[in-house]
């Protein structure tokens, strides 16, 4: 059986951090299990669903500058939000789903960066709801996951300190 390709572009500065790949995988599993009461397993990259998924972006500045994208497949968003809040799916508002996605992005970004660079000094801006982007540059750490409710995708990239995340977004 061929080995699953669970990550796409893995090159550049962030990928050169020795533990970065393990951190992304382990933190995603830990966060989904402890705070969202579900399980995330690395999965082959299959990106057709990303165009219709829910997505949020967190930008970070400080000793490292960059941004993280988190996408959740449409069918998974309601059960994840319901599980986080302890509500029935029918009780959830659209606003709550968006807020939970932003919170999940914030938690993942903070936990991953803190573990990759524990000595860093970083500020993470409040995540914003946005659309997914397939960054084509080389400095992207990317991983796809499958959860019982659907799919997740995470990309992190660093941006040169002389370039702001806003102007580099694309």
């Amino acid at each position: 059986m061929p080995e699953l390709k669970t990550s796409c572009t893995l090159a550049g500065t962030i990928d050169q951090e020795p533990e970065a790949n393990d951190v992304v995988r382990n933190v995603a599993s830990e966060v989904l299990e402890t705070m969202f009461f579900t399980e995330a397993e690395p999965a082959p990259c299959e990106h057709a669903w990303l165009a219709s998924g829910a997505c949020a972006r967190a930008r970070f500045t400080g000793s490292h500058m960059g941004e993280m994208l988190l996408a959740v497949s449409g069918e998974a968003m309601v059960p994840i939000a319901a599980s986080f809040l302890g509500l029935e799916a029918i009780e959830l508002t659209g606003a709550q789903q968006g807020q939970v996605l932003q919170e999940l992005t914030n938690i993942l970004c903070g936990a991953m960066l803190s573990r990759i660079w524990p000595q860093s000094k970083l500020a993470i801006a409040p995540p914003e709801l946005t659309g997914w982007r397939d960054w084509q540059d080389v400095q992207v750490l990317h991983r796809c996951f499958v959860i019982p409710e659907g799919k997740l995708a995470i990309s992190i990239r660093l941006i040169a300190q002389s370039t702001s995340p806003a102007s580099a977004a694309g």
């Binding site: 986080f84 809040l85 939970v100 903070g110 936990a111 803190s114 524990p118 000094k121």
Partner: protein, 130 residues
């Protein structure tokens, strides 16, 4: 004994989650007061007695660092133990918040059990001193 808790976080869903986790952990919560930032927290503390404050750091308006400074500068409020709950687990941030007077620091993700253990440690220490 049920403890009254002030939860300070700009995310309403995070405040709901913390309330839920407190309940799941078996920690006995009496009154649970919420605030969206440091200013709201100080206003709530004018009107409510709480046994412990759980605060985020990054919030619009008065953030968690400034809230800690205000609490420590107040002759009455400095006696209320405060614990930070944050996504930021960098060493520099943890040290700074503890230096500002936080008695505990819980980085996300956390389990109901770990939250309860930390709360009991803080409140146990407090009772041991009184």
């Amino acid at each position: 004994m049920a403890y009254s808790v002030l939860i300070v976080d700009d995310s309403p869903v995070m405040r709901s989650f913390i309330r839920r986790i407190l309940s799941l952990s078996g920690f006995e919560v009496g009154e649970c007061v919420e605030a969206g930032n440091g200013e709201e927290a100080l206003a709530k503390l004018d009107a409510h007695h709480v046994d412990i404050i759980l605060t985020d750091i990054n919030m619009p308006g008065m953030n968690g660092e400034e809230l800690m400074r205000r609490l420590c500068a107040d002759g009455v409020l400095k006696n209320i133990p405060a614990m930070v709950i944050s996504t930021d687990a960098t060493n520099e941030r943890i040290v700074r918040m503890m230096e500002l007077g936080a008695q505990g620091y819980m980085s996300k993700p956390f389990t109901p059990e770990s939250l309860r253990e930390e709360l009991e440690r803080i409140l146990g220490d407090r009772h041991a001193r009184t």
